[in-house]
Symmetry: C2
């Protein structure tokens, strides 16, 4: 514990303060005694068994913790066999062993005892990544947790907080991190320039120790901005040569580099289109440059026309990613991973699953999620995203291929991080569940959201049953509540433009972003079978989504245009559902605040107070959402509330 | 002419290039030969009579220009007696004489000959002022003409552009200028501190030469921010003492100072409320400090609650200025001028005249206008405000007092300047008419807007009849056209929040600014007899404004809430008027662009091109306004356009 940052779920507390015997760590010489696995075990045992005599080597008189590496396991796989006398943990490599140690420590901490267990676990996805939108000047785009701890005034920072960061995310199962904003601007353009090599070397060494590959977001036009060339045309041999040399230079300095993350031809970022090339041309050129060093290119699929005319009803932004990338399926090199946002728009509270997950069968894919609560309350509102993330991972993309779930179709998962230099890392203590849970879920997606949240509560807040019940109720219900008072029936973009906080139901309606609800006095929503969007899904999904009578209620206004009097599967009319969900969502938020107050005595006063202030703002804002959105639809529809509640 | 700034209407061209005789300036010793009147006459004659022999003193063989000062005239009054042999100009002081010289030069330039005339003119208002919203860092709040020429990187600038500025505004009749933003922030707080005295001295000396009093916007809490005190309580004797000393220090360095301009307790600015004092307490304390030096306090009446709850239908921002200041009538010292915006909201395209002009009978008043086109197209749209300004000045505030026009009730007029460091000073050449015309109108309000515009065209663009006709048509019709496609029937605040450019009809609807249209599917507008606002006007205005059947069409939706099917005096329904005025306003804008193109051959290519680019943007934006506002009301009302035009 220090006064700059919390240890979050790695705050090891005495587990057996009365145990005064010996505890021995045993491992053969092939295990690195300076490595993360051994050092974490020592750190944990010292804290949990403060009175024990900790030794290395054979000792049959006390607790024994055996660590080993076994070739029969995958690199990141581990096995644990444990009972009340200790444990044996075997990893497929130092990394697997580290995950095993973290898993074992988790088990005994949540159980509160030396548990009897046998377990063999391999991560479901090979790449589990955080994307930080940190700018070189120390600001964080869509950051709600303070400033960057990676950058300060244009300089890369590697300090004790960086080490704690690496331990924290490694313990949650994350194995890669892109440390700078995909919108590469200002000094960040030169992150790959010579002057930054020493800093990158230090950071990649630190990351490697915790099994984390360092990724860098790059400026596609770096041959010009950094190299002084006159073109960044991916098919120009001089450009490829420049990138090859750059990659050699980078990997020589920082062998722990994982690769590059690229946002190209999107929202003003440069890309291959400037040279009449396509995205495969752009990505493959880079992929070839980094291939000799085992590097990968994460290429974002978030490409759309952000200068659309709102009067144009034929163009549908939801189609853009599919139309751009589906024709390129099979054209990407093996070390390119196409990073596809979970839905076709942009991290709204509720979106359908992106059709590219079903369509790109010959391309390595990453699913991109957003932990930063850009559209989900900005860490002032509690909004646990894990139930939604899991639902998406388990969603079946198509009925004609087996296995067809998103988790089966992807090789990687990435999430926009929600961290900053706030004491608790994520602004709100409760937002830590999203950070922790994203790692755990992509490592072991068979876990339910409730399993993971429960585990996180126990590791972070201890074993009080009252705390556990209150926080489980808050976190498990939080996304549904937020959806209730902000975004009924799949309708997105009702938020204020720019900040994306608070309601402004027509703030995006007459603008250039392709984000329209087309509400009028009779009906609301976009008929996405007319725009061609539903045809991007295979049958029977296509029909399901095209037909207002069949479409799931929670996505109805995403896919269909219906009258306010349309009757949902729930039996309610659309307009009454809108009113009810806003009143109910607000009431749920009130209940969350009440639950938080009810456990005040069991919380650290600073943690309680931080939460209390945020719940106060959540309630103010939720009331605003409720009244504005209900007023909007009431003024348009003219339909009174069945229950006669106040509408403005 | 130079390449940094234009001479605008003072670009003297040869008037009689063939005149090779003598031209003599004659004046007694009481006229300052280094003064503005003489020097301007010399500058003009040299340019207009390039081949003449210019002499001082008696000379009966050529043209004779006699300048004198006469005690029988008011300080700013002048007389001109002229014929084809020359002119005699007499002023009540050097200042009056300068105005006389400018007037005489204007007459012969617009006439194109040495006219025969007899004229005696005294300005209608004693204080004719420009308020610059220039920040110390060189930016300009609501500036659409480039950066500040008064401030650069925190430093006051006095250079040849400052001299040209003084000549320009003096020639238009302006006699005061507040050079810094009423929102006093950053380095501007220290504008009255010791380090800035030398700069203020230089500037006030330059201004004085052209009859311009220098005003400074001050931070009401300067005793704290500059003086290091712990309070700025206006009733604390130490605070008054601090301001007295400060005034002595300032006037000693810069005797040409006019006084202070103060925005207090408004939109976050500090003020007397912090100490439980009222605005008279605040203003009078300052007034007493500056009184020994002949200084004045211009105190803004723009005070309202900018954190209103949109759900609160009883609070009406329009009432705020009246409710705050009317009870203080008679409480202000004689050297306080209360500066009241022309309407009760904030420089919207159309507002009723502020009720304070009729109510404050024992307080010196200034009418505040805005030349900076914040809500009127930001100098990208052509919008000549002179017809509106004149209408307001001539408006009768109350039928029971004579004379009761605004111009009779005020002692001063101020306008937020539209200048910057762009070559033509106002971003758009056509916006120069507003700058010029504001001065002329407040000097001689008996002139019509057409008189003034015509004069300005002639002085700025020369004598071509085609140019004159085209520009007159554009300028005289421009405000009506802008109103047509943006703000029907007195409805304001349909613009984008923040920038105030482009349409966003509900951008201000659910926010904290007190700016609501309350549109729903049946009706639109706020019933301002219910909020108490119409009761702030005397009868018969009160009844006129309260009754939708009597209320003038152009203010109907400001004062009344009516159904879309309500029939206007024009015979049209409200909804059809909205549609028509948007289509018609756009068509007028198209006609303006066409007219501009039609005179291309007679314009300086750079001037033409600047205008052409602005008309292109005006048309794009006007189309956006037309389609968004019509879509908004069409979606709400469901009423089709009678003419079947496309609505979205």
């Amino acid at each position: 514990m220090n006064d700059k940052f919390s240890s979050l779920w790695l705050d090891y507390k005495p587990l057996f303060p009365g145990f005064t015997g010996r505890a021995a760590i045993r491992c053969p010489s092939r295990v690195d005694r300076q490595g993360a696995a051994v050092s974490e075990l020592i750190t944990a045992l010292k804290a949990m068994l403060p009175a024990a005599e900790l030794t290395f080597g054979a000792d049959s008189a006390g607790l024994i913790f055996e660590l080993d590496i076994g070739d029969f396991l995958d690199v990141e796989e581990y096995m644990i066999s444990a009972d009340e006398r200790g444990a044996a943990v075997i990893g497929g490599s130092e990394r697997g062993l580290m995950y095993g140690v973290f898993a074992y420590l988790r088990e005994i901490r949540t159980a509160g005892s030396l548990v009897r267990m046998n377990k063999r676990v391999r991560p479901a996805l090979g790449l589990r990544m955080l994307d930080h939108w940190d700018n070189a000047d120390g600001t964080v785009e869509r950051g709600y947790s303070g400033s960057s701890f990676f950058f300060r005034e244009g300089k890369l920072v590697v300090d004790e907080r960086t080490e704690m960061y690496a331990r924290l995310i490694a313990s949650a199962g994350i194995n890669a991190a892109a440390i700078n904003n995909v919108n590469v601007r200002g000094d960040a353009v030169r992150l790959i320039a010579e002057e930054n090599l020493p800093g990158l070397a230090r950071l990649s060494e630190l990351f490697s120790r915790w099994g984390i590959a360092l990724y860098l977001s790059i400026d596609f036009s770096a041959p010009i901005s950094v190299g002084g060339m006159r073109t960044a045309d991916p098919l120009d041999p001089a450009v490829g040569y420049w990138w090859s040399n750059k990659a050699r230079e980078l990997w020589k300095a920082a062998p722990g580099l994982g690769g590059f993350l690229v946002k190209a031809d999107s929202e003003g970022q440069p890309g291959p289109y400037a040279y009449g090339r396509d995205h495969a041309d752009g990505a493959n050129m880079l992929a070839r440059a980094v291939k000799p060093f085992g590097g990968r290119i994460i290429w974002r699929a978030f490409v759309y026309n952000c200068t659309q005319d709102w009067r144009d009803e034929r163009t549908d932004r939801a189609c853009a990613g599919y139309r751009t990338f589906a024709p390129l399926d099979g054209h990407f090199d093996a070390n390119v991973i196409l990073q596809v946002k979970n839905g076709p728009m942009d991290f709204q509270v509720r979106e359908p699953v992106h059709p590219l997950f079903g369509a790109m069968r010959h391309t390595a894919l990453a699913a991109e999620f957003q932990l930063a609560q850009e559209y989900t309350g900005q860490q002032l509102h509690v909004c646990c995203l894990l139930p939604m993330f899991r639902e998406i991972l388990m969603w079946n993309t198509a009925c004609d291929i087996q296995p067809g779930r998103v988790i089966d179709r992807i090789q990687a998962a990435a999430a926009v991080a929600n961290t900053g230099d706030s004491f608790c890392w994520t602004g709100s203590e409760l937002a830590g569940a999203n950070l922790y849970g994203f790692g755990r879920l992509t490592f072991e997606p068979q876990l339910t959201a409730e399993d993971i949240i429960d585990e996180w509560i126990s590791l972070t807040f201890g074993s009080s049953e009252r705390v556990r019940e209150a926080l489980l109720q808050i976190l498990l219900g939080s996304h549904r509540a937020y959806e209730g008072y902000t975004a009924p029936l799949g309708l997105g973009w009702l938020c204020k433009p720019g900040t994306h906080y608070g309601p402004d139901p027509w703030g995006y309606e007459f603008d250039r972003w392709g984000t329209y609800n087309r509400a009028d006095r009779e009906a609301v929503g976009v008929d996405r079978s007319r725009t061609g969007y539903t045809s991007l899904y295979p049958e029977p999904l296509r029909e399901l989504y095209s037909d207002p009578e069949k479409c799931p209620d929670e996505l109805l206004l995403f896919f269909c245009r219906v009258k306010y009097t349309h009757v949902l599967h729930s039996g309610k009319t659309v307009i009454q559902h809108i009113y009810d969900s806003h009143f109910d969502g607000y009431a749920e938020a009130e209940e969350f605040a009440r639950l938080w107050d009810s456990i005040e005595s069991e919380l650290d006063p600073a943690v309680y107070d931080n939460g209390r202030r945020r719940f106060k703002e959540q309630l103010r804002s939720a009331g605003e959402w409720r009244d504005v959105i209900n007023a909007f639809f009431h003024r348009l529809s003219g339909v009174p509330d069945e229950q006669g509640r106040k509408l403005y």
